[in-house]
């Protein structure tokens, strides 16, 4: 019998919670980017995660690309899907209300899921981990190598996004379009292009999450919905539009699920996310990090 203490168990729950938590956070960040620029909640976000994973499987296993190239190619192709979604669908309906646009994103998510089912079939697919080897054992808890990669990918995404929005002209222009589209247009910012960019970017980030998680949890055509829902919970909990909030809320959600499975009952794990989401909507609808004044001005 292996010596496995309660302390190791606590650490193991924490590691599992953090791993899945940063994935929720990445999905939530994807929601936020589009929300910030358009006030649309893009319910196809979960499908981007699924597409990222399955595209990577296609590049790595059908085209035999090395895993890192497959990673980049999958992100690129999913980004292109986001691009196409804005160009072909959202832009055509741009005069509709935000609510109609949100419903349109649900339609797109069904379309993407259906297409993925035809293309890849209904079996789950696996990817080799980014680097092979036994998991690291820290104080009795096992940390999968892929989990380390997931943390690294998330950190890179968060740092790049922060730099992008704080430093680059495009990023600032995107924030400006979000704050006040009319004023932004008047100072010469092409708001439509910013919307296009937001869809492309959030699809790419969703794909990064999808590719990183596939070696651990496999990927199949209908995985997007649940990940999308949990990510949405994280986005609302953190305050819609708040990047830092999404990161913290994603991790909180992941840890809550993991501890619930570990110390209460694993049967209630999925309920945790929804209960937290409901509590947040009842008691702090603007989210942990959103401001109440700003929330009042938004329609959704």
């Amino acid at each position: 019998m292996d010596s496995f203490s309660l302390g190791s168990a606590l650490l193991q729950y924490t590691v599992s919670g953090l791993t899945i938590g940063v994935i929720y956070a990445l999905v939530a960040i994807g929601y936020n980017i589009i929300y910030n620029v358009t006030e649309i909640i893009n319910f196809a976000q979960g499908e981007f995660v699924m597409l990222g994973g399955l595209f990577a499987v296609f590049f790595a296993q059908s085209l035999h690309l090395p895993i890192f190239l497959a990673f980049v190619a999958a992100i690129g192709l999913t980004g292109l899907t986001g691009f196409a979604m804005e160009r072909l669908v959202i832009r055509r309906a741009r005069s509709s209300t935000v609510l109609s646009l949100i419903i349109i994103t649900i339609a797109v998510s069904i379309l993407l899921k259906g297409t993925a089912m035809f293309w890849w079939g209904k079996n789950p697919y696996s990817l080799p981990p980014f680097s092979s080897g036994r998991p690291f054992i820290v104080l009795g808890a096992a940390i999968q190598r892929q989990a380390v990669w997931i943390f690294a990918v998330s950190a890179i995404v968060v740092v790049c996004l922060t730099l992008f929005f704080r430093r680059s002209a495009y990023g600032k222009a995107m924030l400006a379009s979000a704050d006040n589209p009319s004023a932004a247009r008047m100072v010469g910012i092409p708001v439509r292009q910013m919307v296009l960019l937001s869809f492309t970017l959030s699809a790419a980030i969703g794909a990064a999450a999808g590719v990183s998680i596939t070696p651990i949890s496999l990927m199949e055509y209908d995985r997007g919905a649940l990940l999308g829902l949990k990510g949405f919970g994280a986005a609302v909990l953190g305050g819609l539009g708040q990047f830092f909030g999404a990161l913290v809320a994603g991790i909180v959600l992941g840890l809550a699920e993991s501890f619930c499975a570990g110390y209460l009952s694993s049967g209630y794990k999925d309920a945790v996310a929804l209960v937290i989401l409901l509590l947040a909507l009842f008691f702090k609808p603007e989210g942990l990090f959103g401001s109440r004044e700003a929330a009042k001005l938004k329609r959704f």
Partner: protein, 389 residues
């Protein structure tokens, strides 16, 4: 076009239709007898599509094969197959539709969808041969007069598993089950049969069918120090269980899976991680491993060869269920014709029917006809099944 022209073209069209109908009716009567209808409800899409796909392929393959040979007593088979999308409500609607049209129904694929339709078939007095495992599908027998099933009961699987554990001296186990009909039913049987086999369940964990990580559950099981772990699920979560079990360095504790793992694709997906995983399996999966004089060897090898040649994928337990239900339905149609009540009585009195999942011996008390002796304990070895010692 003028109104007159339109009128003329319409009557030409109508005349053509009438002619076609007459021709079809005449030629139909001349060439073949009225087709025998078999209804089928499978989860071809949705969460249990990995069951429904091979079932659909198998049923269609058998239909084509029999029709090519001239059908049953000269009657071709017409298979009316509906997809329930793994949704109990849709399964229920599908069976409601089928009971009006066919004398016998095969499917549904899962325990959840099957339990949702037994009432409909029972009320309509149409025999239904389910392809799912839960023993609740055919018990209590008083209210399951018209219901049969060809998948071994969970109690057989658990019985076989515990028998193997006893041989290995395992007394303390941790179990983890998926929170759907399949998992809930397996969990019930594990907990029910453990005491009479001298086995203590020291951990009892659950998870959702869409979960992406099971390390929390496994860690919790580990803290209770079992001698073996039983995972009971279908689909991707059972591969997750293997991966997490391996990654957490828990491979010193043997992992038993349910018969749901009985598909070679699962071994491929889990990669090297699956080595050493134990499970009770129906013989349909391990045709080549069977002794040549085994009574099931011939039917299993014939099915395996035909299926693998046509679909370029390995056979699975699930396709085997479709084979068994389809052949039982055909045997009944051959013996008594398309009469629902007679088919029911024929099925109930069928003995020694050699199928993919065992030798079926139905009776008024047993509408499953299988026992734990129809399973083999196997272990994953070098990326394939091997008989466990």
């Amino acid at each position: 076009m003028s109104r007159l022209g339109e009128c003329v073209s319409r009557s030409i069209l109508a005349g053509f239709y009438v002619g076609l109908m007459l021709f079809l009716a005449a030629s139909g009567r001349g060439l073949a007898a009225e087709p025998y209808k078999i209804g089928a409800v499978f989860s071809i899409t949705g969460g249990a599509s990995f069951l429904g796909e091979p079932e659909k392929k198998t049923a269609e393959m058998i239909r084509d094969e029999i029709n090519k040979q001239g059908g049953i007593n000269g009657h071709p088979i017409e298979l009316i197959m509906l997809d329930d999308e793994t949704d109990p409500t849709k399964a229920n609607l599908a069976v409601k539709k089928l009971v009006k049209e066919v004398p016998v129904i095969i499917g549904p694929s899962t325990s959840g969808t099957s339990l949702a339709v037994v009432g409909v078939a029972e009320e309509a007095n149409v025999p239904l041969i389910s392809c799912a495992a839960s023993h609740k599908i055919v018990t209590p027998i008083e209210s399951r007069k018209w219901i049969f099933k060809v998948a071994g009961s969970d109690s057989h699987v658990v019985g076989k598993m515990f028998e193997h554990m006893k041989k290995q001296g395992i007394q303390k186990i941790g179990i983890m089950t998926v929170s759907d009909g399949f998992g809930a039913s397996g969990r019930e049987e594990l907990l029910r049969l453990a005491p009479e086999n001298g086995i203590t369940v020291v951990a009892d964990e659950r998870y959702g069918p869409q979960d992406t990580d099971l390390s929390a559950q496994l860690t919790k099981i580990r803290t209770s120090q079992p001698q073996a772990i039983v995972n009971w699920s279908t689909g991707p979560t059972q591969i997750l269980a293997v991966k997490n079990w391996r990654d957490l360095g828990m491979d010193s504790i043997p992992l038993y899976q349910s018969h749901g793992f009985g598909n070679r694709k699962n071994i491929q997906l889990a990669g090297k991680g699956a080595e050493g995983v134990r499970l009770p399996l129906a013989r349909v999966n391990i045709g080549p491993l069977l002794a040549d004089d085994h009574p099931q060897k011939k039917v299993i090898m014939e099915y395996t060869k035909a299926y693998e040649a046509q679909f370029k994928e390995p056979v699975s337990s699930f396709g085997g269920h479709a084979w068994d239900s389809m052949h039982l339905a055909m045997a009944a149609l051959k013996a008594v014709g398309p009469d629902a009540a007679k088919i029911r009585d024929f099925l109930e009195n069928t003995k020694g029917f050699v199928g993919q999942h065992g030798t079926f011996n139905f009776s008024a008390q047993d509408h499953n006809g299988l026992s734990k002796e129809d399973l083999e304990m196997v272990v994953v070895k070098d990326g394939d099944w091997a008989l466990a010692k």
